[in-house]
């Protein structure tokens, strides 16, 4: 069983229009111009794992209201085991309007979802009993309103107490506090500001400093996105830079989730784990998503074809 955690999921709605104009009614008649899907880091990785053939994958988190039940149905349609705490507050809806000519992208992010303390307590209880079958827990994404920033720290502590491997993708204060519980792999992401551990990220040396700091604070291995590259921090102190070559990016959505999935998929399948190899698989999967219109992975073969367009260089630090 693979467990993924998504505390702040959303229903993502994409509307494709010829031209996005204000003060104008738009009519959508074609099914392909309207996409509605369950969104949230962690969940996309869960769908990827199913696509790669893993039989039991669960997604733990909060969903709320009637729209939360709709969200859950969409998740179950992917054959993922839903494991949700139902909240009083309605789940988020993110609306994206994509204009074709001229190419425009307008996004309305919904941050109205709120979780009660009693619901957080219930999540902790449910998490404890639900990870008994899992060797690996992937925790990813943001924390909803009403949930304290130490939530990831608490979840990781529970998982580590049961000898589980924890992969964390987080940002801001939740990331900072989570490091104390010593997650095995950390992939920070930038949300509203380009900062990690309150440090501004401008030049490569800033990223290296942040990665080292995260390891000092408890992370065993770290992978930081650096433009289209990744800077990799192995647990022995070595630092590498992973770079794609000759690429054409048309889609970011799902790329980091694909990275996490392929990294872990390699880890699950090998007896002799190699950090660089795992990241090459991750990079190849992210590259495949970025160059296609897909959000989810299909087959290993698709992204393995991208492996020869990646290079890894050791950095002297």
């Amino acid at each position: 069983m693979i467990t993924t955690v998504t505390l702040n999921p959303a229903i993502d709605r994409e509307y494709f229009v010829e031209k996005n104009e204000v003060m104008k009614n738009q009519f959508i008649y074609n099914e392909e111009d309207l996409k509605i899907y369950p969104g949230g880091k962690g969940l996309i990785s869960a769908i990827n794992f199913k696509e790669l053939g893993y039989s039991d994958v669960q997604n733990i988190g909060f969903v709320g209201g009637k729209q939360g039940l709709f969200f859950e149905k969409m998740v179950q349609k992917h054959d993922i085991i839903s494991n949700y705490i139902y909240t009083e507050s309605e789940i988020r809806n993110n609306v994206k309007i994509i204009g074709k000519d001229p190419a425009t992208y307008t996004q309305y992010n919904d941050y109205t979802f709120e979780v009660e303390k009693e619901e957080v307590d219930e999540l902790i209880v449910r998490f404890k009993r639900s990870i008994s079958e899992s060797d690996c827990i992937l925790i990813a994404g943001s924390v909803p309103e009403g949930v304290d920033f130490d939530i990831y720290q608490r979840l990781i502590k529970i998982a580590k107490g049961k000898d589980k491997h924890v992969f964390l993708q987080a940002s801001g204060e939740a990331l900072k506090l989570a490091l104390e519980s010593e997650p095995d792999v950390v992939a920070p992401y930038f949300k509203h500001h380009k900062t990690i551990l309150d440090m501004e990220m401008e030049e490569k040396k800033d990223y290296i400093k942040a990665g080292k700091k995260m390891q000092e604070m408890g992370a065993k291995r770290v992978m930081i996105p650096f433009h289209c590259d990744r800077i990799l921090f192995d647990k022995n102190g070595d630092v590498y830079q992973l770079s794609p070559k000759g690429y054409c990016i048309i889609n970011w959505l799902g790329a980091s989730d694909a990275y996490n999935t392929a990294y872990l998929d390699y880890a699950f399948k090998t007896d002799r784990f190699d950090f660089i190899e795992a990241n090459l698989r991750g990079g190849a999967a992210a590259l495949w998503i970025a160059e296609n219109k897909e959000v989810y992975l299909n087959e290993r073969k698709d992204y393995n074809d991208c492996l020869d367009r990646l290079e890894v260089n050791k950095l002297e630090v």
Partner: protein, 153 residues
């Protein structure tokens, strides 16, 4: 051969024997399920809690035969009873049955079980007894429709 796992609903929505009845009721109405699986602290299936069972324990004797003149009195009494019952454990009101089906079972077997008893919903477990979800009559009908359409091709 069609298997339960091809038609089931995958969910871990559940309570434990030491959860309160209040928690079970909230979960029932928020998830729109009137029957919940009861699991232990490792997520192993141990029984079932039915909304009907809770109701039977708070609306005394005449449940099912309420006439309108007594309805107001009975509802008030149920509310009073629930004030005590809501803090009691699920364990006291759950059915300790082991009627769960395996996810790798043949759908034909499910048809037998569902048609030969009153269960409209069966919980699904894996070979080790861990909860995986449930299967209900609409899923059985879905399977039967698939069979019917495959036969007519």
């Amino acid at each position: 051969m069609s298997l339960v796992k091809d038609y089931m609903i995958r969910t871990m929505n559940s309570v434990t024997p030491d959860d309160s009845i209040r928690k079970a009721i909230i979960l029932m109405y928020r998830s729109e399920q009137s029957v919940l699986p009861v699991v232990d602290h490792q997520n192993q299936f141990v029984g079932t809690i039915y909304s009907n069972n809770i109701l039977k324990n708070i609306i005394p004797e005449s449940f099912g035969f309420l006439d309108s003149s007594r309805l107001f009195y009975e509802v008030n009494e149920a509310v009073e009873n629930l004030k005590y019952v809501k803090d009691e454990n699920v364990e006291k009101y759950m059915a300790r049955n082991r009627d769960a089906v395996k996810e790798n079972s043949d759908m034909k077997k499910i048809a037998d079980i569902m048609l030969n008893n009153k269960e409209s919903l069966l919980f699904v477990i894996n070979d080790e007894g861990f909860l995986r979800g449930f299967i209900e009559r609409s899923n059985l009908l879905h399977y039967l429709l698939d069979e019917a359409e495959n036969h007519s091709k």
